[in-house]
Structures are given as structure tokens and as C-alpha cells.
């Protein structure tokens, strides 16, 4: 998953989409600074950073799947993130706020689905996939979106679990589950008993699954 937004917590995701045709004035330094100031709660700042990292590739890939060309998909990414960042004050101004992350998720999904569905209908934007009607288009976009979103979360969760798990535990999972090697072989090459392989791979799976769930529903 290289080539997606890096580690810089300053909304870098907005400016480094590969192949972007727009030079990013969209979020000038002041806007960026003021946004971060507004998100005084550092948890929210981190949430915003995570958000751009997770959503940029999701938006991009969904757009591509709906037949948008790369440059269009890049634009959609930037337009969605820009729109979301602009409406942050709406969230800030609310009397009773829901959590920042769920709010971000919801507004980004809505915005992205709307933009992508609309663009995908317009042949001059390079789509060559034919949809019979708007409903089909909307449901296709939503299906792709949910698939890509889950893919992204899953791949991130796996990266995180790998980082924190003992190497031998991870290897037991990797060799037996991803490479689908027989348990006995894996046990032998890792020098552990087979029961350890069974247990290790289930422990990794369990943690990945729980992490995904936590991100999906975190308040």
C-alpha cells in the first residue's frame, strides 16, 4: 500500500496524492494551522490525521472503480477532504456533538458517494462503465466504498498488529494463514509445537478483527 499518504500529521494527505493535477493552494498554511488550533483536543487532531490517511486511498480507489480517470479520482479525493475540512466548524458549533471520528466517517462517506456518483454519470469525465440508472450507480458506489473502506481498515489493522506482536506469533499466522502452509510444516520451521501455531494464528486474527471493529465504531 505504498504511495499513499505518509506520516506527516499536518494534513499532508491533501497534497501528496500521486499524479495530482492541482497544486495545492486549497489548504494554505493558515487554514491548516487554524484547523489544527480548532481541534484543540489533540485526540481530534490525531483523528483528523488518521482520517486523511485512511480515506484518501479509499476515496481514490472507489472513484477509480466507478470509472473515473486517475486525475479525476485525485480531484475527488481533494474535493472531499477539502469539503470535510471546511465543514469542521459545523461540528465544532454543535451543541451536542457526536464523536469526531464517527462524524468524519459519515460526512466523508456522504460527500464522496455524492461526488463520485455524480461524476460517474458524466461520460466526459472519462467513465466508460455504463450504468442503467442512478439507483444502480449509487448502490455500486456504496458497495465499492464499503468494500474499499473495509479493505483499508483491515490492512492498517494488520500492519498495526504486526508491529506490536511477537515476530514468531506473527510468522505462525503468516505462514499458516496467508501462505496456507500445513500446520506441521509451520511448526517445524518455527521450532514450536503445532498447538502454538493454532493458537498464535488465532490470536493474531482475533486482534486484527478487534482493531478493525474498534476503528469502525470508535466514538
Amino acid at each position: 500500500m505504498d504511495g499513499h499518504p505518509g506520516r506527516d500529521p499536518t494534513l499532508k494527505a491533501l497534497s501528496i496524492i500521486p499524479g495530482s493535477t492541482i497544486v495545492m493552494h486549497d489548504l494554505d498554511p493558515e487554514t491548516r494551522a487554524s484547523l489544527l488550533l480548532k481541534l484543540r483536543d489533540s485526540a481530534d487532531a490525531i483523528a483528523w490525521h488518521d482520517f486523511t490517511e485512511i480515506y484518501s486511498p479509499v476515496i481514490h480507489r472507489t472513484a477509480k472503480r466507478m470509472g473515473l480517470q486517475t486525475a479525476d479520482a485525485d480531484n475527488v479525493v481533494q474535493e472531499v477532504l477539502l469539503a470535510v475540512s471546511k465543514s469542521i466548524h459545523q461540528w465544532l458549533d454543535r451543541e451536542e456533538r457526536i464523536g469526531f471520528r464517527p462524524w468524519l466517517s459519515r460526512i466523508a462517506r456522504n460527500k464522496a458517494l455524492d461526488l463520485i456518483t455524480r461524476r460517474a454519470t458524466r461520460p466526459e469525465f472519462g467513465s466508460n462503465v455504463q450504468w442503467d440508472n442512478l439507483e444502480q450507480r449509487e448502490s455500486a458506489t456504496a458497495t465499492y466504498w464499503d468494500f474499499e473502506y473495509r479493505w483499508e481498515l483491515f490492512s492498517r489493522a494488520a500492519t498495526e498488529v504486526r508491529r506490536t506482536a511477537a515476530e514468531s506469533t506473527w510468522q505462525a499466522f503468516w505462514l499458516s494463514t496467508i501462505e496456507e502452509r500445513p500446520i506441521a510444516d509451520v511448526a517445524q520451521s518455527l521450532g514450536v509445537r503445532e498447538g502454538v501455531v493454532y493458537l498464535s494464528r488465532c490470536r493474531i486474527m482475533d486482534r486484527i478483527r478487534k482493531l478493525v471493529k474498534q476503528w469502525e465504531t470508535s466514538e
Binding site: I22, D26, E124, N128, E194, L199, M205, D206
Partner: protein
Amino acid sequence: MTTPHHPTCCSNKQLHDLLVGIISDADSDAWLQHLEQCPTCQTKLHALAGEDGDWSQAREVLSASNAEKHVARSEEWAESLSRKLLSPPSHPEMLGRIGRYDIEWLLGSGGMGIVFKGFDTELHRTVAIKVLAPALAYHGTARHRFAKEARAAAAVVHEDVVPIYDVDADREVPYLVMRYVPGESLQARIDRVGPLELKQILRIGKQVTAGLAAAHAQGLIHRDVKPSNVLLEEGIDRALLTDFGLAQAIDDANTTASGVLPGTPQYMSPEQARGEKLSVQSDLFSAGSVLYAMCTGRPPFRAETSLGVLQKIRESQPKPIRELNPEIPSWLAQIIETLMAKDPKDRYASASEVSGLLEQCLAHVQHPLDAALPATLRNSSTSKAIRSRLLKFAIAGALAIGGIGLCSTLLPSTRSRVPVPTLQKGDSPPASIPQPSIVEWKVVPLPPTPEDKILSVLEETIEVDWKGLPLEQALAELLGPITLDYRGYVTKGSEASEFESTVQLRHRATRKQILQRVLGARELGYIVRPSEIEVADLEYVRDNPPLRRYCLSHVSDTSLEAAEVVQLLNRMLGTSASDSVSMILNGPNLLVRATESEHEQIIQVLAALATNVQP
């Protein structure tokens, strides 16, 4: 937590505690032992850790090759094409179904078909499914050949050959099922890293030739050895050869359908390029070309057009490997030169010989002290100084015994294998080409060039120095007098548009119009960065050589003859023309883009051919 010493069977609670690590290490051995012996608990633990969907998603997301393919499969055409080929999916995350296979997603596509990653629902294993391209599926000979060759290939069992599990040629869309090899193709590897390391080159070369040897032992010629047909299995050092004999199926279809040569000819042998009968030595030439590509990061013969490539394969020597990559030892360069000898007789006798040779070389590179280079190669690896000393010694010896004629026998025996670089016997006399027979021909003018018909949508980002002009005026100047079917522009940025210097334009216009406009705008001094236009396109518009259509009526309307006409024309125009001339043969129509004088030559050739066959 109370733990029975020998747990008979565990409750979900106990398994959960085991999973999250609540059960103490002291007790865990008994649990592990139980787990090893109890399939019920294994299944329960498995289900507790994740649902089936979680496990399968783990496999899909985490396999590195899939991560790449995940991006690749979002290519626009994949979806619509898949819908045409496949039955509706049984599961929403699948693309579709074919036979008893669930299609997960598209792995790639080539000249002959489309490859999907699938799942065998009966045998519960992941497979790769190659579906014959729709254009070929409706072609009787191609279908027949596909089935025949696939069945022959299925008989080749070797660790360096991708095993074929199943062939179904009776369906509307014929397909074959192969082992799924996680990893990347050699082509992808070369594209990614450029020239490979010596050990890798030798290992892959050894494995590819070993795979070839196994096929040759079954009387099967591969015909299409090229880097994209070599798969590199992820995690372990194994190269597997795929797509045996299938090139022939495409040959059948393409030559009769359009006369256009199939696929990339860059790795073809000279005899293949001449359309002659092939022997196993043809595969050896291609294997040599693959080794060449691994050493240098590029194919040995390159030209603008397929026909240009074929001409080079027949007539010229590739650039010496060591000029492109000095790190390649001369003995390896020599092996490749021998493999790529123009005359099949000058190449090695068999693939197994080459495989053995490369294996010895690999052993030598890995353990230089324990394993010597094969004797036949040792001379070439010695330095020039030593060789000239050897030569002097040989001559001195020869003189000493008074017979200069013996000298040659003392020279290294491998010399005779090295191809002579300049002479191509049997290639130059035009008499060897069958004369194509044309009864009549005419030049058909092409009033609307095909380019003008193509509607194309382009987006440009234009950075404009407004010089205080109102936006509309600047755009008017920029867009000029050319009428476009559709025109729109979007200014980028926030509300403060007067500070904007970037305008994004969206057009629907003919490609030619857009190209012309881009050129015009540049002349006005605007910076135009069209998203899809390449420099070559612009130059093409600037000096667009005239395109003409010649209509050839043949005695017998087989395009084999038409292909011969193209070959002949190419030959007549000579090597110098091969870069600028492009010929596309489509049924009886020959589209030629060439300069006026080249067109005149073509007309002369056609006239000569036509009179040749007048009764």
C-alpha cells in the same frame, strides 16, 4: 480459572480465555496438546478468532501480490469485461463464476486471454483461471488449438512449470485452470528493479531452461518464452514457466483475422520471425533473450513497430550485454550469445544442457573455490591478456610442429559456437520469400482520417499568467478559434478566484483538435499540461506523415499473403524507413503512414507485384 489436567473438550469461555491469554503458561501445555488432537476445538477457536469472512479477507488483503493487484484490478475495463465473460457471482465480494470456480478478481490480461484469481469450490483451493479472449473464443481453429495445447501442456509435470489442473474447452468461453502462483512475473520484476543480480539471473535462467527441458521431453515447444510468462513465486526462490504452446492458438486466429502479429514479438526467434517451422532451438533463442533482459533490464530487440522488431530479430545483433551492464561476466554474455545465435544449429543442443550449464555457473558464483566454472566457459572468462598468451602459445606450438593448420584445433572449442555477428545466411536472397500474388490494387484516399473521428475527452490544467486580463478574455485567447464540441472550465481553489492562476479545462473534442490547440496555446506562452497527451503525440501532429489506405485484392483472400506483402514492402523500404513507417493490415486494407517518397516506393512495389501475376 480451573483447568482440568487433561481437558476433554473446551467450552467457548475456556477457548476465549486461551485466545486472549488469560490461561496461565503453566497450564497452557495441556491445552496446546489438547488443541493439537481435537479438531472440534481447533474449529471452535478458529471461529472465535474470526468469522470465515475475516480469515478470507486476511488472505486477500495481506498477500503482498494481492495488495498490488488490488490497485491494478480497479482498471476501468476489468469490470465490464468480467461481466461479459462470467456468470453472476454467488457471493457479493466475488466478480462472478465460471464452472465450479468462484472468480475473486482479475490478475491480468494478455494477448490470448484474461487471467483471474479464483477459488475451486470443490477442491477448496485457490487457482488461476485463464479465459480465452472473447475475440479468440469465437474462432474455431483458435479454440481447437487452445484445447489441444492446453491438454498437452497439462501433461508436463515439473517443479518449474505451472501445473494445469483443468481444461474446459466446450463452454462458450473456454478456459483453463492453473495453480495460483502468488508473486510477480519476471517482467514485473524487471520493470520494478531493472537488471537483476547475477545469482538471480543464473537461478531463474536455470529454472526456466529446466522447465523448458521438461516440456521438450514431451515434444512440446513453448513458442512464447518471455519474461511475462515466467512467474516468480513469492517467498521462495522459484521461477515457474507458464503458457505452454498457447501462442500457436493466437497465431491461428490473428493471422487469418487481420494479419497483425500477435502480442509482443520482442522475444521471438529469427525463425519464428520468418514464419518458419520451429524446433526446440527456437525456445532456446527466446530463453537467451529473457536472460538478456534480466542482465540489461531491457529486451534485446527494440523498434517502434512490431514489424521493426521482427526485422531486427532477423537481421541485427543486439547491443553487447557488457556494454549495457559491465557487471555481467563475459562467460554469461557468451552463453547468451550462443543461445541467441541466428542459426538454430549454432545454439546449444538442448534446454537441459543449458540448464545444467547455468546450474554449474550458479554453483561457481556461490562457492567460487569449491565449484569451478564449466570447462567450456573457462577460456572466455580469462582476461584478454591471458587469452592472447594462450593464443601465442598455441601458435608457437603449431609452428613448432610445423603445421599451421592445426592451430584452429588448439583454440578453445567454444569459439565455434559464438555466432558470427554480420552474416545472415539464408535471409538476404529475396527469392526465398514466396511472391505474394495480387491481381489488383488501388490507393484509396482517406478523407476523414480516423483520428478526426475519435472523440476524446481530455482534461488540462493550465497555469495562466492573467496579466490583469479578465478570466473570460484570457480563456478566449487561449482557446482560439477552434470550435470544440464541449467546453468547460473549472477554476480551482477557494472563493478568491482573482488570485487563481490555475484553470482546469475539460473538453470533448477530437484528439487532433486538442493536440493542435495545446500546441497553439504553448505558442502563446501558456503552460499547458494536458493529462493524457504525450510529447510523441504533439510531434506527431506537427509533422504528421500522410496516411494512405491501399486496398489489396488478393487471388486468395488469406491474410497470410497480405502479411507477406507487408514483409516485402518493409524489406523494400529498407531498414532506414522502419522507424517512421507504420503499416497496419486490416483485411484487404493496408494502412500506411509514411513520407510521400516512401508512398511512391510502395506504389511501385505494388505495381510490380500486380504485373507479376497478370496471366
